[in-house]
Symmetry: C3
Subunit: 437 residues, 3 copies
């Protein structure tokens, strides 16, 4: 069982490790399929013994089919002089993700019909995708677009779109119970840091961290392309999915914004309460959002046929920071110390989940005599009372078989770890007994 | 089934029709019984095929008996010179409604014991009744009262109070289901416009409007004298009353004030939620009141032995505008455009009630692939999403057999009609199936 | 059954009686055992026929044992000149309550290790106890402590701590039903007025007051030392405890502060709602606190093995006034008029509890005709309605077998006594019938 001590590794060290891993993963051109994802998972495999799955194109997964595999080696726009004025080698965002191959001469007018740009941020390249409609296009800065003159251009996307596989990684840690905690991150974005290299590296570090402990719950760490990834995984793991008792989608955890938690569809399940408890006692501003059916892969986990208790703990949410889905979501936006804070937040949440048990007071009629057990001040009348003494009284009073430690923490207003330690002390004195919830 | 299109007739046209009908009905001296009510119902019958019921005096209706029938032809107070200084022919409010007949000479002192006036509004004649205590009296302006001098007066109320009938009108529209919607208006006030010629004409126009549609619910439109009217109707229609699933008392709907909704005794039944949803999205200020056992005929529908889900949707509530129960509640206070707005509000509420069904997502495990059905943007990553796309996701996510469309509208914060249209689209693609709630 | 009239005795008279009794009880050196408690109960016995119980030392009461009995006859500190510089005869607070006997010469340094003082209030003697750790000590003002010079002192505590008894008093009033109301006050504090002679005298006066009535509920009035007292009583009265339907711990009811109510562990039981209703309509500021497992003897009554609906109605709560647990909590802090207000508050609460029944409307379908029974204004249309008429309508509308009179008072916003009187009138007209809740 992870203890408060082991759960909190050195933040600077952890932050630097996460950032270093992110730097390694940054250059690959990820998508919902393809070699960029394979390379990403191979590198993660150097840290945790990930199992990498390859699911063939055309495999039926619920209402969907695994799409053709997309790979790309080069892409550019050349001007009349043969100069690469837009170059995939400079940024993989320059190509519409999943763009069809193309190589031809086009007029400025035709070219413009195949270009995305962001007039509101003229220096940034937007990130755009077209997974399910076959088309070719480029993304460029608005400044680049503005400077295009009337001439003939050569456009080239050296990509392939053919039968292959969808690739995802998973890592399981067995626990004392088959009940399971899921941490899921999407891996389909190319060179974009906060969305979602930050979630990927947090997920990997959490997995590594948990692998060193002997947790109560079993854990599943998923590295999947967005939407089609969790759909594929759920289709292949329905039985296992039914064991998921708590889950989080890890995304956008590397910027410096406040924490934001989007509740699971269930709204106030244990994972929701655990996250909100930790945020409340974090001393930081934070925001909690009700479930909505838009967002990340919680959309699939929380679809009505599964309705798993999976929330999403982010810093600045998707779409709410200007750099979102652009080349400005880069290695400067995400910082090691922000990643470290997110890691601490996640481990604190998992600590609550791990330790949140239901106990029954073994001396339920009146208070037990705490003084003779050394659990109570011996001079009375002074009016003040130590926090731990108060916590002991709360645990005794509410351990009636209907309140978990998290319930007691919430009702008392005390931190979960203070309540949890009080329960440990009472357990040592045989004043509590665990029951199965 | 009424659609949004058919439900919204041209407002100006509707408002003018309602106002015109109100002008026709204004002069009659209505009460809880009598010929004024018969004439009123006869005119309404020109618009909708009302069934007019006559219930004999003395008929036991629960704890009550149908009272004697009251009719009046003339009334006046003459001064010493024989001049009519108070004249029923000028305003039927001048006579205490249900006044006993009288014809005699009285001193000023005696006269004053039989006079009601409103010192706070010296130009207005108050409206007063005495249905269940036999007495005679006049109502006059405070100015009139102040000018009375010491002399002998002749008072005359040429009324009759004898065995007869209580008259009420009802109109039924059969629907797909025997479950029933009730719209009830009191018809017992004489020449008073907002309270409640406005409710009467709204009720009649709603009935005419619904008669042109093929509604899901059956409808009952009631035109009854206050208190004794619904008591009589309920006593004679207990079986039918048990089928009422939603109801509104229509009263005070012609002034220019904000809308006010008084909840049914059940507090948050479907009718309450439908009205509040429509008000919330109306872009207007409004107020919602908890149920209280004072007010209009919802008092009877919501008595504990019935406890029907009947609320009261008004503009300025009874007793909360200065002209209430006086001669100033007249054809100037009520305007066609206010009546038209009320009509729109009522039809919007009925539209919600009609379309509020429960569907089940036929592809509940993960999202269905909306793109291949043309229900989803094909270029991803742009961060904005069309309202209709969001609505489709909400309907899919919450159509688990436990959420009606109104539930989904409330939870999503979207307008009911947006949600309802999304459901229609999904039905067309066989992604939803209706279940009976 | 107590009526509103009998329930409210003359406040000045009641306040003076309570204050006089407090003066008599003030000098005794009470503790959790001993003769001070016996003398206290003897004096209360002059007012109500208290049964005094003596429970031998060593008796097992749940997890506790009845401690040795402590008695004290004298205590002092003498300076080198043989002068009593600290004298138990001047204030029994000077001795650590339950201090071991001692008689010896000590240096200043040693003496200081056995002294408690309050630097923040240099003129006050603190009140300190050591029930379960055997030690000797004195309490003195900080000024006294500061003036001690380097010399030899003689310390003497002429106390005994040996096998004996724990003494408590109880008084039962049988009611129509064996269901029981508990009022409990702790008697273990020596010469301290608000905490808790105020509670003791209020408890005694309430008992005397109730003894003159024929209440619906049975009543138990308890005068017990804190903590070990209710534990002993509960251990010896488990069957009777199970009949307790409502209870209050009476403490700190004599100062001039606002009322404070600490809810029972159940949170919103009938006693909680009754107290809060009375406070809400009192026209005074007040505060309501959620249950916490610290405080007075509600800690034992509300332990999870009992979970009795026992709250604590105080004025300024324990620990929240500066004089708390010091010699300044004396006959000046508590005043007759404050005691009288507390008495009125408690009797008003008991009045609600006594009269809070569930009735069923005998004419549930539509309103009964109130006019023919003289319960309704006979001239209609005036727009205002008497409070009692409104109350009658509320009682009729909500008397469906699911709402008690307190429910109706809360839902209507009317005072409980107005609702209760309306119910009485309706009972007289056979329009209501009591059912057992």
């Amino acid at each position: 069982m992870p203890t408060q001590q082991t759960a909190h590794a050195d933040p600077t060290h952890v932050g630097n490790n996460m950032y270093q891993l992110m730097r390694e993963l940054y250059p690959f051109c990820r998508s919902i399929t393809g070699n960029g994802n394979r390379k990403t998972l191979e590198i993660i495999k150097q840290h945790i013994p990930l199992v990498v799955h390859e699911v063939p194109t055309g495999t039926q997964v619920f209402d969907w089919q695994v799409p053709k595999e997309w790979n790309i080696t080069d892409a550019y726009i050349k001007n009349g002089k043969g100069e690469r004025i837009v170059d995939f080698r400079k940024s993989n965002l320059h190509v519409l993700n999943y763009s069809m191959p193309v190589k031809k001469k086009v007029s400025l007018a035709e070219l413009k019909q195949h270009v995305f740009a962001m007039p509101e941020h003229p220096d940034w390249i937007p990130y755009r995708t077209s997974y399910y409609k076959e088309q070719w296009a480029f993304c460029m800065t608005y400044n680049q677009l503005s400077q295009l003159t009337e001439q003939e251009y050569e456009v080239c996307v050296d990509s392939t779109l053919k039968d292959g596989h969808l690739t995802y990684g998973e890592y399981h840690i067995p626990g004392e119970t088959p009940d399971r905690v899921l941490i899921s991150s999407h891996i389909c974005h190319p060179s974009i840091c906060n969305d979602n290299l930050s979630g990927i590296v947090l997920n990997a570090c959490l997995a590594k961290h948990l692998s060193r402990l002997s947790p109560r719950y079993s854990y599943t760490f998923l590295f999947v392309p967005g939407t089609i990834g969790p759909i594929t995984w759920l289709a292949r793991n329905e039985t296992l999915a039914a064991r998921i008792k708590h889950g989080l989608v890890a995304a956008c955890v590397g910027d410096g914004g406040n924490f934001n938690y989007k509740r699971s569809r269930r709204g106030n399940d244990e994972i929701d309460r655990a996250v909100i408890h930790v945020l409340k006692h974090s001393g930081r501003d934070y925001q909690v959002w009700d479930y909505v059916p838009t967002g990340y892969d919680e959309r699939q986990y929380c679809s009505p046929g599964f309705n798993l208790p999976v929330g999403c703990l982010m810093r600045t949410p998707n779409g709410m920071y200007p750099e979102y889905h652009s080349s400005a979501d880069n290695l400067d936006l995400v910082r090691p110390e922000f990643l470290a804070e997110s890691f601490s937040m996640y481990t604190a949440v998992l600590d609550v989940i791990e330790k949140n048990k239901i106990y029954v007071n073994q001396n339920p009629k009146c208070e037990p005599q705490l003084g003779k057990r050394g659990l109570y001040a011996l001079v009375g009348g002074q009016g003040d009372r130590k926090l731990q003494e108060t916590a002991v009284l709360w645990v005794l009073n509410l351990s009636d078989g209907e309140h978990s430690l998290l319930d007691i923490a919430e009702q008392s207003g005390l931190r979960f770890d203070v309540i949890s330690e009080a329960a440990d002390v009472l357990l040592q004195h045989d004043l509590l007994k665990e029951i199965l919830g």
